[in-house]
Amino acid sequence: MAEDKQSGLVQGTLYMLILKTLTLEPMHGYGIGVRLEQISKGVFQVNAGSLFPALRRLERDGLIAGEWLVTENNRRAKYYRLTPQGRAKLTRETRDWEVQTRAIARILEASPGEL
C-alpha cells in the first residue's frame, strides 16, 4: 500500500518534492498535496495514502518538523516546516538529481555514432 500508482513518481523523489514545497513557508498536509498538484500542472496527484507515510518518514528522519497551529479558518492543523538538516538534504538531493538528469539526457540524446 506504500506505493502510489497514480502519481507515477520515481521512488524517493516524493520526499524531495515535499521538501521543496516547504522551502518557502510551513504548510499542512493537504496544502502540500495541492501545491504539488498545482506546480506540476496536475501531473502529480499525491493522495493521502502516499503523502502521510512520506511526511511521517521525513519527520522521523528530522528533515521536517511538525507543529500544531491555528489555520486561517480558525481550526487547528499540523504545519510542517523544513529543518536545517532538511534544507541541507534538499540542496544535496537537488544537486545529485541535476547531475543524474543531465547524464541521462546526454545518453538519451546521443547520436547513433556516439553509441
Binding site: 506504500a2 493522495n47 493521502a48 507515510p53 511521517r56 528522519d61
Partner: protein, 909 residues
C-alpha cells in the same frame, strides 16, 4: 540520521502509542475538512465535496496502516497485535486449539524421542577427549584364522595379540583394551550379577576421562600379579548400589567373591565405549587371573575376549594407520599363534592383517546393529505420522478459514493488505506450533524414558541396555526443524488459500453458496488423498512388524517352554577339585529334583535360545564336514524337561559313565545333513583333535526332533548333544533347566534353598524361560508396538480427514442437494452422489499407498521373520479394510445429505 535517533523515535512511538494515534487521527480529520472546504470553494455542493474528498483519500484505516508501517517499531507493534488477535481467535475455539496442540505435541514428542534414541545409538560422539581421534583396531577378516573360546560381546583380541600390537605399533599416541564380563557381587545365596569391565591400565588416561571422585586406574594398577586389585565404579552404579556414598572410596567390593579396593568413581557421562551398554565396575586386566584362576585368559592364546581402540598420534590418518597396521601384522600374528591349532587355521592366522576403523562414536557389540535400522524406520514412521497430522491440522485450519471467509473479504475490501492478512493467519499457526513444540519437548523426556524402559530387559542385568539420554544440540535442532517444517506444512497453505478469493465474488457469494471455491476443494482433496496413501503405508508396515512378532512368538522352537526356567549355579568359592565336580553337580540336581512342584530337571552346558553357542566340526568316515555343527552337553531328562520329542533311540542314562563308550544324541537336521539315508541309531562320528591326540568317537544312541539353538530367528541347524556324565573337564559352574507346575516365586526360593543345603558356598540365579525369550524379542516387540500405534493413529487421522472433507462438501452443496431432492432425486441417489466423491478420493489414495508400500517395505526385509515384504495377505487385507473404513467415514455425512429437507435447504437463503 543516526541509528540512535531512529531507535529513540521508535521507542517513543511505542511508548506513546495512544498519543501518536490520536495525533494522526486529528491530522487526517483536518486533511478531510480542508479538502472538503477546498472543493466547496471550487463550486461543488457540500455532499458532492464530501464524497469527492472521501474518494480521494481512500480508506482512512489503510492510510493509517501505511503511516504506522514507517519505522522498525511497527514490526514489533504489528506482531504483538497479530499475536493478541491470534490468541483471541484460538480462545474462541478451545476444542480445536486443544486437539491441534495435542496432536502436534504427540507427533513432535514421539519423533524427537525416537531421534534422541537414534542419536544415542548412532550419532553421539563418546564423552571423552577428542573422540574424533579414536579408531578401533581389529582383524580385517575375523572369520578366518580364529579358533578357541570367545567370551564377552566383542571377542576380537587375545591378550597376547593385544600386548604384541601395543608394543609394536607407532601409529597411536595411546591404545586401550577392554573386555566385558558379568560379575557377581554376592558371596552366597542368590547371585547379583553386574556388568564388569576388564580394562588396560591406562584406559582412562588415554581416553582423557577424569574421576568424579577419588582416582581412576593407572598403568601402575595393571602389572603382572596385580597385587591388591583396584576397582573403579561407574557413577550410576555407585549411586544405585551405594547411595552416592563418598566414603566408599578405599572400601572393599567383592567381585566373584574376591576383594577389590574401590579407588574412585567415573564421571556420570562416561559409561564405557560400547554403544547402549554401560559398565558397573572397571577392573584392571591383570586381575582376570584372580577371578578365573586355572582358566585365566591372560596366557591363553586361543581365548578371545578383548576389544581395542587407539588414539591416533598427531599427523596420522585412518588410512595411514591401516597401512601401518598391515605392515606390522605378519610379525604380530607370527609371534602370537596358539599351539595345537589345526594347520589350516594356524596358516590363516599368521596370514591375517589388522585394520583401523572409525571409533569416534564408540564401538558396538550388538546394540547398534540391532537397534539402528529399527530406530531409523520408526523415525521415518513418526515423521510420516507428523506429516499426516499436519495435513489434518491444515484441513482444520482451512475449514476455519472458510468460516472466516466473509470476515476476510470485508477486511480486504476495507483496504487490508493481503500480506498482513496472511501474516495474521500464519501467526495463529506459529502460535499453535510453538505451543505444540513446548508440549512436545516435555513429552519427549517421558516418551524416551518409556522407550528405554521397554528396551531394558527384565532379567539378567548384564544383558540390559543403557542409554545416556540428554537434550543435546542435535536433538534440539531436530525438534526445532521438525516444528518449523510441520508449521509451514499446515500453516502456509491455508493462509495463502484463505486470502486468495477476490473481494467481489466472495462478498456476493457467501451465504448463498451453491458451488465451492475451487482452490480450496482441490487442496483439501489432495490432502486427503495424501493422508490415505501415507497412512496405508504405515498400516502395512505395522502389520508386517506385528506379524513378524507373532511369527516369532509362535514359531516352533522344538521345545515346549511353558513352566520351564533356567538356573545358574556358581560354586567356585567352594573350591571343589575337578574330579569331584561331576558328583557335586549330580547332588545339586538331585536336590532341585526333590522340590515339590518340580516335574523334572536337567543340566545343560549352553542354555538354548540365550544366544550362547558351542560350535565345531564333525568328522564322518574320516572326512571333516565343512559346515559347523552345534554342540551341547546335557544330562538325562534334558529333552523331557524342555518338552523336546524323541523320534528314535534312548535318552542318556546314569550308565553313560566316564569309562563307558562315548554316546551322543542328534537332531533331525544332523541326521538329514550328515548321515544321509543311514539309520542314525548306532552310527558313529568323530571330533577333530589337535595333531597327535586321538579323535574321540561317539556313538549315536538317540534321535530327537529339530530344536533351535541360539535364537528363535535362526533356522533348524544340525545339533549334537553329548552326555553331561561324560564331561572330562567339568567347570566351576553349572546350568540347570527346570520344569515346574507353577512358575511362582516360591519355586525360585525353594531352588535357592535346595542349592544352599547341598553346597552353602554356591551362588544361584533363577530365571523363567518365557521371560528370557521375551527379553530376546524386545526389539521386535518395540518395533511392532510403536509402528502399530503410529499406524493406528495415522489411519484414524486419515479417516477423520476424509470425514471432514465429505462433511464440508455436504454443507457446501446443501442447496444443490435440496433442489435435487425437490426435483425427485431418491435418497439412494443422493447417497451415491456424496459417496462417489469419497470413493474416488479413497481409491486414488489406496492405489498410491499400495504402490508406495510395495517400494517402502523392501527396505524392511531384514527386519521381518516368516513373511515376505510383499506379504499378499497383508496387502489384500489393507486394500479391503481401507475402502471399508473410508465408506464408513463418508457414510455419516452422506446420510445427513440424504435427509436434507429441500424446504429447509431452500429457505435458508
Amino acid at each position: 540520521m543516526g541509528m540512535f535517533k531512529r531507535t529513540i523515535a521508535g521507542c517513543r512511538s511505542l511508548v506513546r502509542r495512544a498519543a501518536v494515534e490520536k495525533e494522526l487521527d486529528a491530522e487526517l480529520e483536518d486533511f478531510l475538512t480542508t479538502a472538503v472546504e477546498h472543493k466547496i470553494r471550487s463550486g461543488l455542493s457540500r455532499e458532492a465535496a464530501i464524497r469527492a474528498a472521501r474518494l480521494e483519500i481512500g480508506s482512512a484505516a489503510a492510510v493509517k496502516d501505511a503511516v504506522r508501517d514507517i519505522g522498525w517499531e511497527s514490526v514489533i507493534d504489528r506482531s504483538w497485535q497479530d499475536v493478541r488477535y491470534a490468541i483471541r481467535n484460538l480462545r474462541k475455539s478451545p476444542a480445536f486449539t486443544a486437539v491441534t496442540i495435542l496432536t502436534l505435541a504427540l507427533g513432535l514428542g514421539a519423533s524427537t524421542a525416537i531421534f534422541q534414541l537414534a542419536d544415542a545409538v548412532r550419532l553421539r560422539p563418546l564423552p571423552v577427549d577428542h573422540p574424533e581421534q579414536l579408531v578401533e583396531v581389529r582383524m580385517a577378516d575375523p572369520a578366518r584364522g580364529r579358533m578357541g573360546t570367545f567370551a564377552g560381546r566383542r571377542p576380537l583380541f587375545t591378550n597376547a595379540l593385544w600386548n604384541e600390537l601395543r608394543h609394536r605399533q607407532q601409529a597411536f599416541a595411546g591404545m586401550v583394551a577392554w573386555g566385558a564380563y558379568p560379575v557377581n557381587l554376592s558371596t552366597r545365596g542368590e547371585a547379583q550379577f553386574v556388568q564388569g569391565l576388564w580394562v588396560s591400565g591406562d584406559f582412562f588416561n588415554v581416553l582423557g576421562v577424569r574421576p568424579h571422585l577419588g582416582r581412576l586406574l593407572a598403568s601402575s594398577d595393571d602389572q603382572p600379579g596385580c597385587g591388591n586389585p583396584a576397582a573403579v565404579l561407574a557413577y550410576a552404579f555407585w549411586q544405585r548400589q551405594y547411595g552416592s556414598d563418598a566414603a566408599m572410596i578405599g572400601k572393599t567390593v567383592m567381585l566373584d567373591a574376591h576383594p577389590f579396593e574401590i579407588i574412585g568413581v567415573a564421571p556420570r557421562r562416561f559409561v564405557g565405549l560400547e554403544v547402549g551398554r554401560a559398565f558397573d565396575v572397571a577392573t584392571p586386566i591383570c586381575a582376570e587371573r584372580i577371578l578365573n584362576r586355572e582358566q585365566s585368559a591372560l596366557n591363553d592364546r586361543s581365548w578371545w575376549w578383548l576389544t581395542v581402540i587407539g588414539r591416533l598420534a598427531p599427523g596420522w590418518s585412518l588410512e595411514r594407520a591401516s597401512s601401518h597396521l598391515a605392515a606390522i601384522s605378519p610379525e604380530i600374528f607370527r609371534s602370537t599363534v596358539a599351539s595345537g591349532l589345526p594347520s589350516d587355521v594356524a596358516q590363516a592366522y599368521v596370514e591375517s592383517t589388522l585394520q583401523a576403523f572409525p571409533g569416534s562414536t564408540g564401538v558396538s557389540g550388538t546394540v547398534r546393529e540391532e537397534y539402528e535400522s529399527p530406530l531409523w524406520v520408526l523415525l521415518a514412521v513418526a515423521g510420516v505420522v507428523l506429516i499426516i497430522a499436519s495435513a489434518n491440522i491444515a484441513t482444520l485450519l482451512l475449514a476455519r478459514a472458510t468460516a472466516r471467509e466473509r470476515d476476510i473479504a470485508v477486511r480486504l475490501a476495507l483496504g487490508a493488505a493481503r500480506g498482513r492478512l496472511i501474516r495474521q493467519v500464519l501467526t495463529e499457526s506459529v502460535l499453535l506450533a510453538a505451543a505444540g513444540a513446548v508440549a512436545g519437548l516435555l513429552l519427549t523426556q517421558i516418551l524416551s524414558d518409556g522407550l528405554v524402559g521397554l528396551l531394558r530387559s527384565s532379567g539378567f542385568q548384564f544383558f540390559s541396555v543403557a542409554f545416556n539420554l540428554e537434550l543435546n544440540w542435535r536433538v534440539l535442532i531436530f525438534a526445532a526443524a521438525v516444528t518449523l517444517v510441520s508449521c509451514l506444512l499446515f500453516g502456509l497453505a491455508p493462509a495463502v488459500l484463505a486470502t486468495r478469493p477476490s473481494i467481489g465474488t466472495l462478498l456476493r457469494a457467501t451465504g448463498r453458496t451453491s458451488t465451492d471455491t475451487r482452490p480450496r476443494t482441490s487442496a483439501r482433496s489432495l490432502l486427503v488423498v495424501a493422508q490415505v496413501a501415507l497412512s496405508l503405508v504405515l498400516v502395512v508396515t505395522a502389520l508386517l512388524f506385528t506379524r513378524t512378532l507373532h511369527n516369532l512368538t509362535t514359531v516352533d522352537s522344538g521345545f515346549n517352554l511353558d513352566g520351564v526356567g533356567s538356573v545358574v549355579i556358581d560354586y567356585q568359592r567352594a573350591k571343589v577339585p575337578p574330579e569331584r565336580r561331576l558328583e557335586l553337580q549330580a547332588r545339586l540336581l538331585d536336590g532341585v529334583r526333590s522340590i515339590p512342584g518340580v516335574q523334572s530337571a536337567a543340566s545343560v552346558r549352553m542354555v538354548p535360545l540365550t544366544g550362547e553357542s558351542w560350535t565345531g566340526h564333525v568328522v564322518m568316515d574320516g572326512i571333516q564336514h565343512q559346515k559347523q555343527t552345534y554342540f551341547n552337553r546335557v544330562s538325562p531328562a534334558f529333552f523331557q524337561t524342555m518338552g523336546a520329542e524323541f523320534i528314535a533311540g534312548r535318552d542318556f542314562t546314569t550308565d553313560d559313565s566316564l569309562t563307558g563308550r562315548r554316546v551322543a544324541i542328534v537332531n533331525e537336521s544332523f541326521a538329514r545333513g550328515l548321515l544321509g539315508r543311514r539309520n542314525p541309531i548306532g552310527s558313529t562320528f568323530q571330533m577333530p583333535a589337535s595333531p597327535g591326540a586321538s579323535q574321540p568317537t561317539f556313538e549315536i544312541v538317540g534321535l530327537v526332533k529339530d530344536t533351535k539353538y541360539t535364537s528363535l530367528r535362526e533356522p533348524f541347524e544340525p545339533s549334537a548333544f553329548f552326555a553331561a556324565s561324560q564331561e572330562r573337564r567339568p567347570l566351576e559352574y553349572v546350568n540347570f533347566v527346570v520344569r515346574t507346575t507353577s512358575a511362582s516365586l516360591a519355586v525360585t526360593r525353594a531352588v535357592t534353598e535346595a542349592v544352599r543345603r547341598t553346597e552353602p558356598e554356591a551362588v544361584v540365579l533363577v530365571q523363567p524361560f518365557r521371560a528370557q525369550i521375551a527379553d530376546s524379542l524386545v526389539r521386535e516387540r518395540l518395533t511392532a508396538m510403536l509402528s502399530g500405534f503410529f499406524g493406528a493413529v495415522a489411519a484414524l487421522l486419515a479417516m477423520l480427514g476424509l470425514y471432514g472433507v465429505v462433511a464440508y462438501g455436504v454443507t457446501q452443496r446443501a442447496r444443490e442437494i435440496g433442489i435435487r431432492t425437490a426435483l425427485g432425486a431418491q435418497r439412494s441417489e443422493v447417497l451415491a452422489l456424496v459417496l462417489r466423491q469419497s470413493t474416488v478420493l479413497t481409491g486414488i489414495g489406496v492405489a498410491l499407498g499400495l504402490a508406495a508400500a510395495a517400494v517402502a517395505t523392501r527396505y524392511l526385509e531384514g527386519m521381518l521373520f516368516g513373511l515376505s515384504p510383499l506379504d499378499p495377505s497383508t496387502f489384500i487385507a489393507v486394500s479391503l479394510a481401507f475402502p471399508a473404513a473410508a465408506s464408513l467415514a463418508a457414510y455419516l455425512p452422506a446420510r445427513r445429505a440424504a435427509s436434507i429437507d429441500p424446504l429447509v435447504a431452500l429457505r435458508c437463503e
